[in-house]
C-alpha cells in the first residue's frame, strides 16, 4: 500500500476541515472495501479520514416523530441487533443481516454500501422502498436527498468533493404497511446479488386493496431503480397474485441489465420479475399483521 496519513476527526466540523487541507481524501467507515482497494492500488489517496469517531455518523436512534436516524458509519450488526429496528423495520433487517458474513457485518456500514453506489448494493432497494432520505453535509451547510436520487451510475454518487454523507433517515412508515427485501445469489451466504428487489405495500383500512406501494430493484441497471410503473400497477388493486404478477412484469420491463460472470441479461430480467413478486407477497404478509 502507498504511504497514507490516518486522521480521526472527532466532530463534523473537524471532518469538514480535513477535506479542505489540500490532500486527496478517502473516507473510512467499515473499511471492508476501502482498505482492500487501497492495498490493491485500485484507489489512491493522501489521507484516510476515519469517520467512526464523529458522533453524528455513529448514531442509531428513533427521533420523537418516529424517524430512524442511522449514522452513515454505523455498522450493519448494530442495526440488526437493535430491538426497536427489528420490530419496526424488518425489511431493513432483511438487508443489513445479509451484507457479507458476520465479520463484515460488524464493520460494514449502510452509508458505505450506499456511497459505493454499486448497482447490486443490498441496502439500496430496501432504503428506496422505505422512502429513506440522505442527510449530506459540508462546510456550506446540509441538504437532504431521496436515496434513489443519490445513485448516478456504477460507483458514482451525488456527493460533491467537499461533502460527507452524514446520516440515512428512514421516515415513520405508513399505518397498515409492510416491506420486504430479497435477493438471488448462487450460494446461501457471502455473495454479490445477481439481482435484488424490495417492496413496501400500504393496505386500505379494510385490507381489501393496495392503497400505495413502493418497489425497487437492483443489479439490473446501472443504478438501483425506483420502479414507479410497478407501483402504479399495484395502486388501488386487490392484493392478490395477479396484481403482484403485473407489478413484477412492470419491474422487469425497467430492467436494463448487463451480462457478466454472475448472470446473463435474460436471467437478470427474469429475476427482477420473480424477486419483485416475492418481495410483494412477503411485504403484503407483513402489512396484514398491522391490520
Amino acid at each position: 500500500m502507498e504511504q497514507i496519513e490516518y486522521v480521526r476527526p472527532r466532530s463534523l466540523t473537524e471532518a469538514y476541515d480535513t477535506l479542505s487541507n489540500g490532500r486527496r481524501s478517502v473516507f473510512l467507515a467499515g473499511g471492508t472495501d476501502i482498505v482492500v482497494q487501497l492495498r490493491e492500488g485500485r484507489r489512491s489517496a493522501d489521507q484516510v479520514v476515519d469517520l467512526k469517531h464523529v458522533p453524528e455518523l455513529m448514531a442509531l436512534r428513533f427521533l420523537d416523530d418516529g424517524t430512524l436516524e442511522i449514522g452513515a458509519a454505523t455498522c450493519c450488526a448494530e442495526i440488526y441487533e437493535h430491538p426497536e429496528v427489528q420490530a419496526k423495520l424488518p425489511a431493513l433487517i432483511d438487508s443489513a443481516s445479509l451484507i457479507g458474513g458476520i465479520q463484515i457485518q460488524g464493520r460494514a456500514s449502510l452509508g458505505g454500501n450506499v456511497c459505493n453506489a454499486s448497482p447490486a448494493a443490498d441496502s439500496a432497494p430496501t432504503l428506496i422502498a422505505l422512502g429513506a432520505q440522505l442527510l449530506i453535509g459540508s462546510k456550506r451547510g446540509t441538504r437532504e436527498l431521496p436515496v434513489e436520487e443519490f445513485f448516478r451510475g456504477p460507483g458514482q454518487n451525488a456527493l460533491e468533493q467537499d461533502e460527507i454523507l452524514v446520516q440515512i433517515r428512514i421516515p415513520p412508515q405508513p399505518a397498515r404497511s409492510g416491506a420486504f427485501f430479497n435477493r438471488f445469489i448462487p450460494r446461501n451466504e457471502m455473495d454479490i446479488a445477481v439481482a435484488n428487489a424490495a417492496a413496501r405495500i400500504t393496505l386500505s383500512a379494510d385490507g381489501s386493496t393496495i392503497e400505495d406501494a413502493r418497489v425497487a430493484i437492483g443489479a439490473v441497471a446501472p443504478t438501483p431503480l425506483l420502479a414507479t410503473s410497478a407501483a402504479e400497477a399495484l395502486r388501488g388493486k386487490a392484493p392478490e397474485r395477479e396484481t403482484f404478477e403485473a407489478a413484477g412484469q412492470a419491474a422487469a420491463a425497467l430492467a436494463n441489465p448487463i451480462d457478466d460472470m454472475r448472470g446473463g441479461i435474460a436471467q437478470r430480467r427474469h429475476l427482477a420479475r420473480v424477486l419483485t413478486i416475492r418481495a410483494l407477497e412477503n411485504a403484503y404478509n407483513r402489512a396484514k399483521e398491522g391490520i
Binding site: 500500500m1 502507498e2 504511504q3 497514507i4 496519513e5 490516518y6 480521526r8 473510512l28 467499515g30 473499511g31 471492508t32 482498505v35 482492500v36 487501497l38 492495498r39 490493491e40 484516510v48 476515519d50 467512526k52 455498522c75 450488526a77 457479507g100 458474513g101 458476520i102 465479520q103 463484515i104 460488524g106 464493520r107 446461501n188 451466504e189 457471502m190
Partner: protein, 161 residues
C-alpha cells in the same frame, strides 16, 4: 518512513506499538508484534483466516487499518487459551479432527468462540450460518461444525459439574 504510536489492550494486556498508517491490523499483529497465530488468507475479507475480536466484534484484521485500533481492545487466537489450558473449542478441534493443513483454524476458532460467547447453544444451522465467512479447503466443514457442537456440549458439562 513516518510511524505512529498505537495503544491497544491486546489479549488482556495494555501495550504501545509503533506502526505505519498504511499497515493493516493483520500486519501489525504479525509483522510488528510477532503474533503469527493470526493467518493471512485472501487479504480481501472473504476467507476469515485473519479473524480477531476488535472492541467486542468479530472482524477480518486484513480489512482494519492498524491506527484504527488505537485506544481499542483486540483479542487474537493467542488470547483464547488460558495459559496452558486450552479452550474447549481448541480441544474439540483436535479431538474431532476438525483441521488438516490448519491455516484456517485460528480464524475458525476465533469466529466460533465469538458465537459461543453469545449463543452457547447454537445449533448446527446457526453454526454454519455464523461461519459462512470462514473458508476451509480441507475438511469439507462437517468436522468443524461437529467440533463446535462438541465444544458446546463440553462447556455445558463443565457448567453442571
Amino acid at each position: 518512513m513516518r510511524r505512529t504510536q498505537v495503544q491497544i489492550r491486546l489479549n488482556g494486556e495494555d501495550i504501545d506499538v509503533l506502526c505505519e498508517p498504511r499497515q493493516t491490523l493483520l500486519e501489525l499483529l504479525r509483522d510488528e508484534l510477532n503474533l503469527t497465530g493470526t493467518k493471512e488468507g485472501c487479504s480481501n475479507g472473504n476467507c476469515g483466516a485473519c479473524n480477531v475480536m476488535f472492541n467486542g466484534r468479530l472482524v477480518n484484521s486484513c480489512c482494519v487499518l492498524a491506527p484504527e485500533v488505537d485506544g481499542g481492545e483486540v483479542t487474537t487466537i493467542e488470547g483464547v487459551a488460558q495459559g496452558d489450558h486450552l479452550h474447549p473449542l481448541q480441544q474439540t478441534f483436535l479431538s474431532e479432527a476438525a483441521l488438516q493443513c490448519g491455516i484456517c483454524t485460528p480464524g475458525f476458532i476465533v469466529a466460533a468462540k465469538a458465537l459461543l460467547d453469545r449463543e452457547p447453544d447454537a445449533d448446527a444451522d446457526r453454526i454454519r450460518h455464523w461461519l459462512a465467512g470462514n473458508l476451509c479447503r480441507c475438511t469439507g466443514y462437517d468436522k468443524i461444525v461437529k467440533a463446535v457442537l462438541a465444544a458446546e456440549a463440553q462447556s455445558r458439562e463443565a457448567a453442571t459439574r
